[in-house]
Amino acid sequence: MDKQVHVDQQRFFFDQYGVTENDLERYLAAALSAGGDYADLYFEYLSSTSLMVDESMVKSASQGISAGCGVRVVSGERTGYAYTDDLSASRILHAARTAALIASAPAKTPVAGFRQTAARSLYPVTLPSVDAEITAKVELVMRADKAARAYDPRIQEVRASYSDELRNILVVGSDGTFAEDSQPLARMNVSCIAKTEGNSARGGSGGGGRVALDFFFGDKGPEFFAKEAARQAILQLDAREAPAGDMEVVLGPGWPGVLLHEAVGHGLEADFNRKKTSAFAGLIGKRVASEGCTVIDNGTMPWRRGSLNVDDEGAPTQETVLIEKGILKGYLSDKLSSRLMGIADTGNGRRESYEHIPMPRMTNTYMLAGQDNPEDIIRSVKRGIYAVNFGGGQVDITNGKFVFGASEAYMIEDGQITAPIKGATLIGNGPDVLTRVSMVGNDLKLDEGVGTCGKDGQAVPVGVGIPTIKIDRLTVGGTAKKDPGGFMQ
């Protein structure tokens, strides 16, 4: 057999587990022993560290490893899947034969020889943080604790955590796919509680990416996240009740991009559209947003939390235009959906771990900057809210309804930002919310690197971003019986 793999990087599973190309071919042959269109193997070795400081003490420190191999066999629309946490030949072959039960036809032969996916280096760390000195990580969480407490005497409880991981993967497919990657991921989080007589509030902040430890010794260090968390907690002490009902909403730049993730991103994942279960099914080429909205999913941004050199099916990630000047352009696809729908594989096949079947997922999803000055956007609002920080969100992709929860927001009255308001859920309809975007700021910002997306019980790291935008009408879930600004729809 023609061997085309060139050894041009560390061959983790070859070196550490003695895997050979012959083995890989043997496993793939076993996977296709009952026929099928495609089979692949996903080897994973994940090492991780986490630290947490609470009450100014490092209360917990942990490290661990998890390794395994998942075998997938695809036959038409059918997928068979099995995995093992034991990388011995006998257990992988057993998994391959179990996955093969999905098909019932004469055996197929994998194509001869592997073709390595072109190497890329979006996160070229020299020393993965997971291998760095633990004392430096302890310093980070202790500094965060100190900075949060120093911000204001009303900050009385602080929790700061640091976690990192290094995921080594090898993906091989019966079509000759061969891809390796070594994916670092690190983040810090700080949460604070501010207390006064009879009143308390919380604040939180965090960030990171596919970065080395030195990232946190730069300007996005423990003090940055600590101050931000403390600032939000203090601010919330004086927050008044949020209004209820439909109104104008201005979203600040950065993390509020979670709107795009929920309102349109999930609905554009190819599997939902192949099955016609998404509210966006059949809308390609149609207007789903106002002229000013161009939405991108981009897995190729250096150091970003949502980025990947290759996806979890071994395909290179890419920049995909989802919505261009308001017109729906495309879906986010994996191998299965691209084959069944006759569309390009956009390199969005992702999975949580070797125990999971890959499916189309977002990477970093954001809206391009527009022309408007953020100040002008605020000034244009007579009465509404300005939301700058959010918790998470959720979407029902079938009816298109989505929510996202504002954790830091203000009233806008007569074009001026006035009082902070309590956290409130915002709810809207995915396929038309972006048609109500009337202004798009020139200040595109990406989030700090904290997003984790869940779908079918699988969690993967993602990024979001957005410039300041104005939405002419969105429902705000407050409690104010009578609106503090004197209006209620």
Binding site: R202, T425, T479
Partner: protein
């Protein structure tokens, strides 16, 4: 069985996990730990999804993992591994001991006292081999039948996210340096359907229904599951927004459990000692109406939240959390109990790594005597919530704001479906405003609630 055999990759059934856990504890103690605790978990899963009559996925596998927590005086650290080779396990123990040098002295740290440890006796009915007894084709047929029942029930159901059948079993062993060693097995199976209903103009609504049990013999029929799922999807068709208003709200049992979960988070010792709960410092005080009694009971035979001991080896028990509206107990593990100068309630939950958290046993609201229908019939204008979107509860302040959908109630009857609305209030008031509790308590998980009526909440809409 000597642990050296573990590195040969033998099928896991041959390995003696109990011996292994004790061996890891011994190795940690020999390495200088002052206390140690080891958890071993092993699990198998089967799942199949049938969509539009065709098998879409079949998954069958198992895995195992091991974790150790060590104390070096009052400094703690933990490590874990999915690799059971001698080399990896040695490294796991060594790393934990190393790591424990960099954590802080915590005067409240430690494993439970020897006298607190133990395991409930007798068969708790948690494990039934029959979850795996169906032959492969019959398992697929369960999934197919559930979906078919949904698709056949109405011509407006033309599409589906499928029917599924899942089975799983788990084996857990815990050992510590006081000589405690305990283990238990649990099994689980479920059947579900997720149909999509469609109007003539193409508007779609999806909903689901499922049955879950520890034994196949208690699982609802796939036909029953499919039929209910279809009814739930159909009743959402034609949903509209509601007007912003304050009206009485009926929470169906599925969404009512979320209210119980907020109370759980509020009485969780971890948020209580930090003052991160709006219920901190309220022990013995009235926090809800007289009709509210909430119990956590980890001992109910066959329960989804039952186990013979908690994540630290403390026997589970029955704890009255709220009695007639008065907060009578927090839910605690060893650490949070010491912080609050109380005794553990046997609610430690332990993952593979990190400090133990706090988890519920079978946690439920005592039912009332009236039917959900009676509750609905008394409402002139109101909302029946069947689904929440998002996670808008702030446990520090009690502020509550969630996306919702359901059915509008008019003149004591369901009038039309509603969606894209919010429900908001404050948890401190919500618990006092639970004005009615129905009789329909049913466990579909470890947390269960009957249908509730809550007054004073704001519905946000047009």
């Amino acid at each position: 069985m000597p642990s050296t055999e573990l590195e040969t990759g033998n099928p896991k059934l041959e390995t003696d996990l109990r011996e292994l856990a004790q061996d890891i504890v011994r190795r940690a103690m020999n390495g200088g730990a002052t206390a140690a605790e080891c958890v071993v978990r092993e699990g198998d899963e089967f799942s199949t999804l049938v969509r539009l009559g065709q098998v879409e996925t079949l998954k069958e596998s198992g895995s195992r993992s091991i974790g150790v927590r060590v104390f070096n005086g009052q400094r703690a650290a933990s490590t874990y591994s999915s690799d059971f080779s001698r080399v990896s396990l040695d490294r796991m123990v060594k790393s934990a001991l190393e790591l424990s040098k960099i954590t802080s002295e915590d005067p409240f740290g430690g494993i439970p006292e020897a006298s607190q440890l133990g395991s409930l006796k007798g068969d708790l009915g948690l494990y039934h081999e029959d979850v795996y007894s169906l032959p492969g084709p019959d398992r697929i047929d369960y999934a197919r039948r559930a979906e078919k029942a949904a698709l056949d029930s109405d011509p407006r159901i033309k599409n589906s996210e499928g029917g599924s059948f899942d089975a799983a079993s788990g084996h857990k062993v815990l050992a510590n340096s006081h000589g405690f060693v305990g283990q238990f097995r649990r099994s689980y199976c479920s059947v579900a359907a997720v149909p999509i209903a469609q109007t003539e103009d193409g508007a779609m609504q999806r909903d689901y229904w499922y049955s879950v049990a520890r034994t196949l013999s208690k699982l609802d029929s796939p036909e029953q599951v499919g039929k209910v799922a279809a009814e739930r999807a159909l009743r959402r068709l034609g949903a509209r927004k509601a007007k912003t208003a304050q009206v009485p709200i009926i929470f169906d049992p599925m969404v009512a459990t979320s209210i119980l979960e907020h109370i759980f988070e509020g009485v969780n010792g971890d948020s209580v000692y930090r003052g991160a709960s709006f219920l901190a410092g309220k022990l013995g005080q009235k926090i809800a109406g007289d009709n509210v009694t909430i119990i956590d009971d980890g001992t109910i035979p066959g329960g989804f939240g039952t186990s013979p001991f908690d994540g630290e080896g403390v026997p589970t028990r029955r704890t009255v959390v709220i009695e007639k509206g008065v907060l009578s107990s927090y839910l605690l593990n060893t650490y949070t109990a010491k912080k609050l100068k109380l005794a553990t309630t046997g609610n430690a939950s332990r993952g593979l790594a990190g400090t133990p958290g706090i988890g519920p046993g079978n946690y439920f609201l005592q039912p009332g005597t009236r039917t959900p229908k009676q509750l609905i019939s008394e409402i002139k204008e109101g909302l029946y919530v069947t689904e929440f979107l998002g996670h808008g509860a702030n446990l520090v302040t009690g502020d509550y704001s969630r996306g919702a959908s359901g059915l509008w109630i008019s003149g004591g009857e369901f009038a039309y479906p509603v969606e894209e609305i919010t429900v908001a209030g404050n948890l401190k008031e919500i618990f006092f405003n639970i004005s009615e509790i129905a009789s329909d308590l049913e466990f579909r998980g470890s947390v269960a609630s009957p249908t509730l009526r809550i007054d004073g909440l704001t519905v946000g809409g047009e």
